[in-house]
Symmetry: C2
Subunit: 366 residues, 2 copies
């Protein structure tokens, strides 16, 4: 097991990356300020891991209640959030009880936001059960729900008290979701760590075969990179680089997700396609070389991820631009993209006009 600490002064916390340690809940229990917890999961994950977690907590003397939400990005809404508040109020849950998010990115984001806002804030813990959640969404304190007009538009920065990252849960993850998680793994190599990108090219087969050793290395490395970035720029206020770099592929990707309707493409799939867009855009305007574009394309293909934009009859270029124009990174209506100078070296670029971006998208449509 490896422990990675996210260093944020009094908000610091540990991520324990290991294999099959979900039931070894000592550190989780130690993170709870009172022996009361609410486990919030979904109807897919709860039957697999809910009982083991509940038993571990109950054995340690923690009183638990469980709420299972419907599964999927389409449910990451204010309405679902309200159903969580209903449950908490019906059960007279106080603000010193801990919310435990057991699930993927959707569960982590919505439960984190519920914890940030129920009675103005209660403790929470993340137990991620997808690759995407393990390497990305469970770390760093970004919580949110979607709005029909934009992905993750409503949320808060709110750090968990602890992250229990059990690689063992990946054994039951459907391939499509596993591959979508690989998109975020690849992202870390592209933005900040060329050597890790090399390692991924060499080890992609082991990862796809769900080799625990390869997965533990990859997950821990992603968490290390993210912990560093978050520690340096917790609330994404850095003018250059910083936390915004973690958005590589996300400006195009969020527009795909929102434009198609949540749940049509998985988040990681949209990010994969968005990263190739960013690579090609970087080639065209920022000197990113053709060989690197080919490497990006190749590894995404190896991971069975979509690399072509949705067809025009499903998502017009105009609609994509509309959604990119509402991206959270924008300032004074200027779209800000995350681009690459080379593999492992991403940067924020707010110098390209909407017309130029529109032309680029149009010329990349099939």
């Amino acid at each position: 097991m490896q422990t990675i600490t996210v260093k944020l002064e009094q908000r610091s916390y540990d991520i324990d990356v290991g294999v099959h340690h979900l039931s070894a809940a000592q550190k989780l229990v130690a993170a709870l300020p009172t022996p009361r917890a609410i486990i919030i999961s979904n109807t897919t994950v709860a039957p697999l891991y809910g009982q083991a977690l509940e038993d571990a907590l109950n054995t340690a003397g923690v009183i638990t209640k469980t709420l299972n939400l419907p599964d999927g990005e389409a449910f990451k809404t204010l309405e679902t959030l309200d159903s969580i508040f209903d449950f908490l109020l019906i059960n007279a849950v106080d603000r010193n009880t801990t919310l435990i998010a057991l699930g993927g990115g959707v569960i982590g984001d919505i439960v984190g936001f519920a914890a940030a806002t129920y009675q103005r804030g209660m403790p929470f813990v993340q137990v991620p059960t997808t690759l995407l959640a393990l390497v990305d969404s469970s770390v760093g304190g970004k919580t949110a729900v979607n709005h029909p007009r934009g992905k993750n538009m409503i949320g808060a920065f709110y750090q968990p008290k602890y992250v229990l990252a059990d690689i063992g849960v990946l054994s039951t993850l459907p391939s499509r979701e596993f591959n979508a998680g690989l998109a975020e793994v690849i992202k870390y190599g592209l933005i900040l760590d060329a050597r890790f990108f090399d390692w991924l090219e060499t080890n992609i087969d082991a990862l796809l075969a769900r080799d625990y050793a390869a997965l533990e290395y990859a997950v821990a490395r992603c968490c290390e990179i993210k912990a560093q970035v978050v520690a340096a720029d917790e609330r994404e206020t850095a003018k250059e680089g910083g936390r915004a770099l973690l958005n590589l592929g996300h400006t195009f990707g969020h527009a795909i997700e929102t434009g198609l309707g949540y749940g049509q493409w998985l988040h990681g799939e949209a990010v994969a396609c968005g990263m190739l867009c960013a690579a090609k855009f970087s080639q065209q305007f920022c000197g990113f070389d053709a060989a690197s574009v080919a490497r990006v394309k190749h590894i995404l293909e190896r991971a069975n991820l979509p690399i072509a934009l949705p067809s025009i009859d499903k998502l017009t270029t105009q609609d994509m631009l509309y959604h990119m124009g509402r991206d959270k990174k924008n300032e004074a209506a200027q779209i800000r993209l995350i681009l690459m100078r080379k593999i492992g070296e991403a940067f924020v670029d707010g110098t390209h006009s909407a017309d130029k971006i529109s032309d680029f998208i149009a010329s990349n449509r099939s």
Copy 2:
């Protein structure tokens, strides 16, 4: 004009208490990180003060847009919040634009919560237009919306960048709302400042006549007390005293508000009745003397505030207990009351059983 600083390190901000300085917006403009602002008000306040504020900002080169919400506590909901998000997204508002809350406590609370959660946080400024907002809700960063099951149950601690407290706006405030604000003014004397309570007894007629000098003194003193309490305990985590003391009368009061349905009684009216409950409960169980109870009752009567609990056919004792059982201050299902040893000396007391509180309420019903 008096300036009171709320000292919260990098989140510190000034409250400028003055008369008719709404249009002198230099300090407000200086508090904006970019020359873009959204003024959110309601259909009652906007026709009175919206144009003056907008003109002052536009003259200083700030681009503004305005959204007017329906007026009243019944609209402090997740649904109204969603309508703010809609407006912001339709107008492609970015997270460096400032939200300006122009209105009373409802506007301040909901706009503050929108600012806390839109794109995970944007700057905001308070321009309070009721006595209650001037002395209490605009200071200290508590933002929230109500839930059908509980007052202010969903919210965040989120500090404004600046508070423009213009006493002049009180000239247009309806008497019922003015009196409700006096309840919170009286509260500050009761919890922490016996001399201020003496001053209020002496000057209640001047306040009711809306004498600007008396009002400026009272508002500034309330803001000073609140700024001190908030600086010492920003997130209400102190075990003894601290921010929870500001809840004198609110445990009973919130139960009245929620139980009757939001908007039946004004918040300050419910707090007034709740403070007399707290005084009587303190007399019965904590040595608060009968003469002090009489003083509390007398000043509330002078301010034309309700001192009798709603009748049983409108709100049963059982319902009141139900709502008190969901108060945010509670811990492990134990109701925590704010009580008084003497005038100017409040404390938190979590030692009384629900049965005892229930008997107390029942014996105080007409």
